[in-house]
Amino acid sequence: MLAAAAAAVPLLAAGCKGVGGLGTLPRPRPDVAVLRAAIGNEQALIARYRSALAAAPALKDILDPVLGQHQAHLAALRSRLIGPAATPHPARPSPAATAGGADQTSTLAALAAAEQAAAGRRVSRLTVASPSLAQLLASISASEASHAALLRMHRSAP
């Protein structure tokens, strides 16, 4: 992850003319690595929701607003990252979401578990983030925890 973050700077610099005259490039701040990890997590969650929607279109009314909020998370995270948008974590479809034919209850349960796990992971990474990024990550983690609660509410009373 750190190596990927460091590689972003020469790529960025290559796009600028005369950058050599500016002297030593600044070292990437820890936020770059944290942001890239957070962006990768958001992309994976978005891919999960898209797969779930493709497999269970009847869940559209429940899942679309949540997917929209994840897209807002991704946009907010990306807006803080200056440089190539490529992610070191290509989003991969989850086995649960691609199983096809899975009943809606288990789809909601799997998504709720993924949200809860994402919320927990983000809290564990707050320490190395700058204050404002830590607040954004904490707010996103709170949104994800509430998504898990919402999905469980729909699972028990569809």
Binding site: P65, Q69, A72, A75, V123, S132, S146
Partner: protein, 164 residues
Amino acid sequence: MSGPAGTVTGGALQGVLAAVDAASYGYGVAGAHLPTAGRAAAQRDWADLQVTRDELVSMLASRGAPAPAARDAYQLPFPVHSAPAAVSLAGYLQNRLAAAYLGLVALDDPALRAWGARQAQACAVRATGWLGRTVAFPGLSTQAVGPARVGPVQDGRARPAASP
């Protein structure tokens, strides 16, 4: 409480304490307008707030910082004369609490950061229990994090839950 960092931490903890006291008052108002089931849920949230208040007073004491007393009354964000308004108030209060907890997340202390983040999560979960919907950035104004405002907008204004 020594040095600028201690002062900042004490101020942030006092800010959360003030938000907890305001929310406790708000829940008292909301509870009076809720039917039995809603009132029981409001009482659970209120009881959670008292536990958190004790924790905050203890955290302030361990830093040698004063814990200001709650006020007798607080200004409500909108009139509450019905059960739907009481439900909206409960959701609003939880979002305001989440905002206060995010103040702790900006501190250097890793333990306070994690505690604040977990508390903000709990606030967002409670708000969703009340309102039956979620928001993208609990405790943050959407203008602060990006141009996108996701969610239903009515008459040019976001729903109460989407506003900080």
